[in-house]
Amino acid sequence: MKIRARDPKEVWQEEFDSKPSRDDGIETSTISGIPLKPLYTSADLPKREEEMPGVYPYTRGIHTSGYRGRLWTMRQFSGFATAEETNRRYKYLLANGQTGLSVAFDMPTLMGQDSDAPTSRGEIGHCGVAIDSLADMETLFDGIPLGEITTSMTINSPAAILLCMYIAVAEKQGVPASALGGTLQNDILKEFIAQKEFIFPPEPSMRLVVDSIEYCAKEVPKWNTISISGYHIREAGSTAAQELAFTLADGMAYVDACLERGMRIDDFASRLSFFFDAHIDFFEEVAKFRAARRIWARWMRERYGAQDERSIKLRFHTQTAGVSLTAQQPELNVARTAIEALAAVLGGTQSLHTNAMDEVLALPTDKAARIALRTQQLLAYETGVANTIDPLGGSYFVEALTDEMERQAEVYFKRIEELGGVIPAIEASFFQKEIADAAFRYQQELEQKRRLVVGVNEFTVDDEEPMDILRIDPKLEGEQVARVQAVRRKRDQARCSKALAALGKAAAGSDNLMPYILEAVRAYATEGEIMNTLIEVFGVYTEKAVI
């Protein structure tokens, strides 16, 4: 019998077409709605020169040695209640093998107001630590040598103030600013786009960002001045491609603003860092991370003419998706987080936060926080996934999906440019509308059970066991209010008033505001006082409702 050599792809296709498909009505597209084929083959592999880790365009990673050279930094975001309690939690985490700190601030701190402001009522110490003045910051880092660790601070509108507080604490410890390492989120554009913790209008907000970048380039050279964040965009309901595109577009807007200030690209670009979400659709996430590096490298080199390799490499932090956690059967969140963390690692993240299973209910308990950290350690040391660099590189599927992500991002870049850039697009509510549409679409898919979330719209149980959750002692609020008022009583009032007046005057002009803020911080001006001084000059922003 003569066997004709047929293309195995054709054979498979015929066989596949002859078999029935599952008819459970569940979507087969990615969670972002990208249609997927049932099988990817060499025919889907993009035709391009072979890509290598540590080599432009860095799709396979920015380090030649991947995690062989150095593991990712396990950086758990934490902070709650008072500076004193959070300080204890930091020491506990450092003793348990965590390698960097990441500060979560409470809502009044994030919104630039003091604990004794009327609208701080009920919010103090709930989502993070309450910091009102340098005094609180001194307590927060008491006994933690700032020259030896790196610290990430998640704060945006008042970012410059908190950075100055960190610098001032270091001064008191005898550590020069030039020795400080860490990251300031400082990404105001995504606040306008997604998280909405804006205070000033876009223009003065951008000025503060550029001021801090310019200042750090000279004075705090090891500091990552900005963490351009897709995380909050994704959590607000965007698709993976939107997260990728909007974040990189924001990045370019910051680059443009710095160039406009007269800085040279290679003087600041290496200190720009990124922050992405790791959602539950595993392959889509890996593709997103890989595409991000390739796009950024290309734009930085081709459009901005960056020469320094470090300006071209996209470094990023990842947090697993808070929005994917469920209040129902919350133990399942450990599994979700592990899968998301794996996507981040296989996507080549530089640092990682894994969510605790109870974070959907409240701030994590000690135990939940430990399990979250242990999940990363397990990935790093038990699974072996760190032994091979970019192990998914060359996968027909992952390579094709990486290209698709890149393609969709480029479409968005074009639209944003047509709208006149990121800020005009914000003012036209472009991003906000895109995100709200995507969020609504996804919610409808859930309602129609075209997507399942285990324990939520399928596989539910009637009697949920209650979980122990962390409670913030209501007494704390009064104590923190008393603390900030004591600071105001005890400080050198003349020095403080003088510093605030100088800041107000500088804000009306065009000086870099960082030295003025630093002086106000040293004089124990409170965060609220500094912000209010700036609000006097800059005004506040109200967004248009886009639903």
Binding site: L110, G122, C127, Q195, F440, E543
Partner: protein, 139 residues
Amino acid sequence: MPVDTAVRPVRILVAKVGLDGHDRGVKVVARALRDAGYEVIYTGLRQTPEMVVDAALQEDAQVIGLSIHSGAHMTLFPAVVQELKRRKATDIIVFGGGIIPEDDIAALKKRGVAELFTPGTPLQDIVDWLRKRFPRGGS
């Protein structure tokens, strides 16, 4: 009254109270309520209890929907109910949504919040709940 003009949709004032800006949930709910035939007045972010009640009175809303993700619900939800009492408008129903632990839900209901919806609640549940409260449209 004329059939085609008399049916007055129930008016629901939807607001984010507290300082956090996480508006994904509130927007999704607002759209679902609109699609279910309600008139939704969205007042946006960072509303104080006083602002919420004042707006609800001006808008003659029958229902106030509050969203919060910052953990300040135990302070702010009851404050809205209190403010309604002060303004003699306790006929306005308050419901809430957000990250709210089980124990807090019971406590808030005792303090006058009609219903609370946590993440993962199907939108239809919220609509069904409102339909039960207002079977014949607005009053």
